[in-house]
């Protein structure tokens, strides 16, 4: 009996310490999205460039990177260079596409952003009252979703994409599920 209590005490202390140790690794700002593994909310909204509406459905059958941004967002500026590079890099892939969602922005603001920092060439949806952003559980910008060919969200990146992100994060997910 005496030993049993000692074991229980030891196990509880070790468990608490282990939980603390695991918690050290966590980023409190990185809240896991409950949307991963669930179908992405469909949308069809006006494009930033006054072209035909941007429709999520039309990308079915391909992996899709959905990048939420705004001209008001400082980190989006630093991320933009990589997005340009990624668009160039993946231009030949027929199984992969990218779109942007410019949210909580003005049309002029969004257009100016692309004019000054460069247009990566993919379609940009315009979401001034962040209806799509809320529907997609977006907290802030930039946030990026990776949607599989069946329209299921497979990954959410909170914060800017970084050099090598595609190879490190996206490719392994894409190769795991052909």
């Amino acid at each position: 009996m005496k030993n049993l209590w000692k074991v229980i005490l030891l196990v509880s202390v070790m468990t608490i310490l282990a939980l603390f140790a695991l918690g050290l690794e966590n980023d409190p700002r990185n809240i896991p999205s409950p949307l991963v593994g669930r179908p992405a909310s469909p949308f069809s909204v006006p494009a930033l460039d006054d072209g035909p509406p941007v429709t999520l459905e039309s990308y079915r059958g391909r992996w899709l990177l959905v990048n939420f941004w705004g001209s008001w967002c400082i980190s989006c500026r630093s991320e933009h260079r990589y997005l340009m590079k990624l668009a160039r890099m993946t231009a030949d892939r027929r199984d992969f596409a990218m779109i942007g969602v410019d949210f909580k922005d003005t049309r002029d603001g969004g257009k100016e952003f692309l004019a000054s920092l460069g247009d990566p060439g993919y379609r940009q949806a315009f979401d001034p009252d962040q209806k799509i952003a809320i529907d997609w559980g977006v907290y802030g910008a930039p946030e990026t979703y990776l949607v599989d060919p069946e329209g299921i969200i497979r990954h959410k990146q909170v914060g800017p994409l970084y050099e090598g992100w595609f190879e490190k994060i996206a490719l392994p997910i894409m190769e795991k599920k052909p």
């Binding site: 209590w5 809240i31 896991p32 999205s33 409950p34 949307l35 669930r38 909580k104 009252d129 962040q130 209806k131 809320i134 529907d135 997609w136 559980g137 907290y139 802030g140």
Partner: protein, 162 residues
């Protein structure tokens, strides 16, 4: 203070207080659905604030979430369905008062369980300690023997020094 100055102060004070009277205030009647909107918005956390409800927050996201709630209430959606809409998208974090379901149950009831286990452990330990004191032998006898031994030892040592 001169009469003039007093009059001036009186004039300023009355001007200010007269101007702040709610002469132009008109009572506006709230839309009946607004109460539901408020209830829902007060129970949801503004997703970008640390501890403010959607209803209280001034952030852009909270304002837009409020307008989404308003649209949904106007469309006749149920309160539970609207709360669930945000839960599906933002997870547990969105509720200012977390649910007790699933893994959260452990967090809610765990401390009480730990308290209960601790209580049982303390109780059984106390019982055991009381049992270990031999019956019929009072602690004062112990002290007596101790004192005697001590006195003998002291005496011996004093003799040695002498």
């Amino acid at each position: 203070m001169s009469i003039h100055r007093l009059f001036l102060i009186w004039a300023i004070v009355s001007c200010v207080s007269f101007g702040s009277m709610p002469l132009g205030a008109v009572e506006t009647l709230e839309e009946p659905t607004e109460a539901t909107v408020r209830d829902i918005a007060k129970s949801l956390r503004c997703a970008v604030c640390q501890n403010q409800s959607v209803y209280e927050s001034n952030s852009d996201l909270a304002k837009d979430m409020l307008s989404v709630i308003r649209t949904k209430v106007a469309a006749g959606e149920q309160e539970g369905a609207i709360r669930d809409y945000f839960f599906q998208r933002y997870g547990d974090y969105i509720y200012l008062e977390p649910t007790t379901q699933g893994g959260n149950g452990l967090l809610w009831w765990g401390p009480f369980l730990a308290l209960l286990l601790g209580g049982i452990a303390l109780f059984s330990a106390l019982k055991k300690w009381r049992r270990e004191t031999p019956v019929g032998k009072s602690p004062s006898m112990d002290t007596d023997t101790d004192t005697k031994t001590f006195q003998n030892r002291l005496k011996n040592e004093m003799e040695q020094i002498d």
